[in-house]
């Protein structure tokens, strides 16, 4: 019997999973846009994004646009690979559950 895959704990958190999925569809996204799409609080969102950044799954760019601070998040290649592997692992686990 083949061994079941482990789910990546960094991505497995619901908010972190939602954030990576959102970022996979856009070039880059602002903090405020991510907050609106996830309905999360500033503190929680910032903490989860920091974990994704520490894992090397997102990069952060801070800049000023018309004198207003703007924080932009971009998914890295490692983040894209991790999300793809996570989806494959999920499907494999679900396949195993259906077969059981």
């Amino acid at each position: 019997m083949p061994e079941l895959p482990e789910l990546n704990p960094v991505i497995h958190g619901k908010l972190r999973l939602a954030l990576l999925s959102l970022l996979s569809g856009v070039e880059e996204a602002e903090f405020t846009w991510l907050r609106a799409k996830t309905g999360s609080t500033d503190g929680n969102l910032g903490a989860q994004l920091l974990k994704l950044e520490e894992a090397g799954y997102v990069t952060i760019e801070k800049k000023f646009v018309q004198r207003k601070p703007q924080t932009l998040y971009r998914m890295t290649e490692a983040g894209r690979e991790a999300l793809t592997e996570y989806v494959q692992a999920l499907k494999q686990l679900l396949g195993a559950a259906i077969d059981a």
């Binding site: 497995h12 619901k14 999973l17 939602a18 999925s21 959102l22 970022l23 996979s24 569809g25 856009v26 070039e27 880059e28 996204a29 602002e30 846009w33 799409k37 309905g39 646009v65 999300l83 989806v87 999920l90 499907k91 686990l93 679900l94 195993a96 559950a97 059981a100």
Partner: protein, 203 residues
């Protein structure tokens, strides 16, 4: 062994991924207004060139329309992140706009501008841009506009000055003004629907 509860949890994760990817890619950008604006700009340029007999009519009106489009677009773009599809559409229309402007300006300055050739060229360019956009966006209505522009270009090559002018004016009306208003209504409807769905999911 995966239990039913765990299986349900895994399915929820998969649904979350699909929903969020679709949400990120969902374009909330509104472009219906730009079709109306450019349709009006064409009418202004035609009226100015016809009754004002000015060689500046087309270049000045087109530059003004381009500047207005840039201002309105930059105001809207800050609200949404850039997507690959959005950039592809922008690339198509920018390339079409620059090509048309350069060729029409050159023909106008060289004194070789001629009604049938101009309508055929504009019809071909707008047909190409609308067709490419409609294929990327999977929007049949826009492809119908592309067909109408191609038809206007082809008809213009065979008919009299009067018929060519009427066909061109009709194509502007249906493919710019009517299509633009239809686009604005569709965008407003989609926006309302999305807000309602978001309200339901956050409840």
């Amino acid at each position: 062994m995966t239990t039913n509860a765990e299986e349900q949890e895994l399915r929820e994760r998969l649904n979350l991924i699909e929903t969020m990817i679709a949400e990120g890619r969902r374009s909330t950008e509104s472009w219906g207004w730009s079709f109306v604006l450019w349709g009006m700009a064409y009418y202004v340029a035609i009226a100015w060139a016809t009754w004002g007999h000015s060689a500046l009519a087309w270049p000045v009106t087109m530059i003004a329309a381009g500047v207005l489009t840039g201002i309105f677009a930059s105001r809207n773009s800050g609200k949404n992140p850039e997507t690959t599809i959005g950039r592809a559409i922008l690339a198509i229309w920018m390339a079409m706009g620059i090509s048309t402007f350069l060729i029409m300006l050159s023909l106008s300055l060289s004194g070789r501008m001629e009604l049938h050739g101009a309508v055929a060229f504009i019809g071909a360019m707008l047909g190409t841009a609308n067709a490419a956009s409609s294929i990327v966006l999977k929007w049949k209505m826009q492809f119908a506009c592309a067909v109408a522009w191609w038809a206007a270009g082809v008809v213009g090559a065979f008919t009299s000055d009067t018929v060519t002018s009427i066909v061109f004016l009709a194509a502007i009306f249906f493919c710019q003004i009517v299509f633009g208003v239809y686009g604005m209504i569709a965008e407003a409807r989609e926006h309302r629907l999305h807000q309602r769905n978001q309200g339901a999911s956050h409840a």
